[in-house]
Subunit: 280 residues, 2 copies
């Protein structure tokens, strides 16, 4: 693990040469390097914090693996997941990826028993074909979430000019991700939300959704979003509707979305409503 | 102000008839009704909290007017703006809009001296043509942000079937909003962020942006988002680049986005960097 900076990321000839020399030495000895110019590695299961971030020792063990090219972004993801009570299996800040590539990390995480969900922040891929080929296999068994940064042509040039394997057009990346079974993520908030859902919930067996809300307006907003995302609001049976009317209010119109209205502050009533809806 | 529920929102014949009777009485007397089935009205400038939400008395006075059809959503917006130190000029929970319509509220807020930014949550419009016509005039002087809910055909039917003036297709609404000069909002987070920017910042005189970040990765993410939204990253002058290199690090590659790197924890250095960038 090489935390040290001053290599390829400088964009200078000497930085590039130094990194090439390190890579040659490592390759000769059959050694893989995490970094240089990285934050390091954390394995919460064995209390290992091999980073320069003391607070990363506070990560809880769990089922989500995080591999990121940027130290600041990987730290943000770890903080956000921790705040959301999502535990981490392995945390790898990749840095310059001297001789260790995202496809190799993916292969490792695929066979790691602690890891159920794989989250990656990628600016550029040295070996895009290998990555997609490995991802295609792994995505069948474990969900892979990727935030691809450097979407702008200009910003992409630096990381892709020497591979030329994929154009710097994010739409192209996104299409390839979708074909490969990778979940393409568009914001850090979305990354945390989707990761949380995948870490805590069993896979969905359908697209029918019930929306429960403490107010009518928020319920309508959620119903709209479900519709936009191809989910459909389940139609409750007459028996369910009767029970909901009794539990909530005979005066309130009761349907899906369920407006909990005046019982929303009553924990017991909410639990009963939830039970009736889940059993439908 | 009628907080009471049990009227049109029930979807029953008797609810509808009761509301019609109230409307007729009010109309005859030349009286406008906020509600029924609403949260009420707040005017923080005069410490008026005419709602059934005690905590709405904690809203700070400011320049943002909030008019919303849903009590729960209006309360969420008020809470979120307050948490973001954004003050409110007028807060109006509209409820069933018995005989007071969004276009009339818009006319009132247009001439309200305390109001600089207008935020609306709308499920359905009784008089869409009047609304758009008023909005077209007002949007030239004050920004109007609208979150339109009830985007799903099925959910829209109820609120639009009796006017028939606008189809329940959100894409159509969005197109009309854009033509009218209304800012169409797509999530509550976006609503709060855009409101905050408009309340605190002067209008932008161009599309050139400088991005400053404590880490390279987050800077690249922001640069991508600028690109997506039609903003362009300003090109710094050679003099600015020289000064930034001195302030941040002679080793670090310095450009826009600016990676503050190791000086990001140093308040004085950050202030100097900001000064250099703003003066460019």
């Amino acid at each position: 693990i090489m935390l040290t900076s001053g290599f390829k990321e400088l964009g200078t000839q000497i930085g590039l040469e130094l990194q090439d020399r390190i890579r040659d030495v490592a390759d000769k000895g059959g050694m893989k390097i995490v970094g240089p110019n990285c934050l390091g590695v954390v394995n919460p299961q064995v209390n290992l914090n091999a980073t320069f971030g003391v607070e990363l020792g506070l990560i809880n063990p769990g089922s989500v693996a995080v591999a990121a090219q940027s130290g600041a972004v990987s730290q943000y993801i770890a903080d956000a997941l921790t705040s959301n009570n999502v535990g981490i299996s392995k945390f790898i800040s990749m840095g310059n990826r001297c001789n260790l590539y995202f496809d190799e990390i993916l292969e490792y995480l695929a066979q790691d028993e602690q890891t159920r969900v794989i989250v990656m922040y990628i600016e550029g891929l040295e070996r895009p074909r290998q990555f997609m080929s490995v991802a295609k296999q792994v995505a069948r068994r474990k969900p892979i979430l990727v935030y691809k940064a450097g979407r702008n042509e200009k910003l992409n040039q630096a990381s892709l000019s020497h591979t030329g394997a994929l154009a710097g057009n994010y739409e192209l990346y996104k299409a390839v991700f979708t074909q490969t079974g990778i979940i393409a993520i568009n914001s850090m908030t979305e990354l945390v939300d989707v990761t949380k859902a995948l870490a805590f919930q069993p896979p969905s067996s359908g697209n029918r959704v019930a929306v429960l809300s403490g107010g009518a307006g928020p319920g309508i907003i959620m119903a709209d979003k479900c519709h936009e995302l191809g989910l459909s609001l389940a139609e409750f049976s007459p028996a369910t509707l009767r029970q909901l009317r009794q539990l909530i209010s005979p005066l309130n119109p009761v349907d899906n979305p369920v407006d909990l209205a005046w019982v929303s502050g009553n924990f017991d009533a909410c639990r009963q409503v939830l039970k009736v809806v889940i059993e439908d």
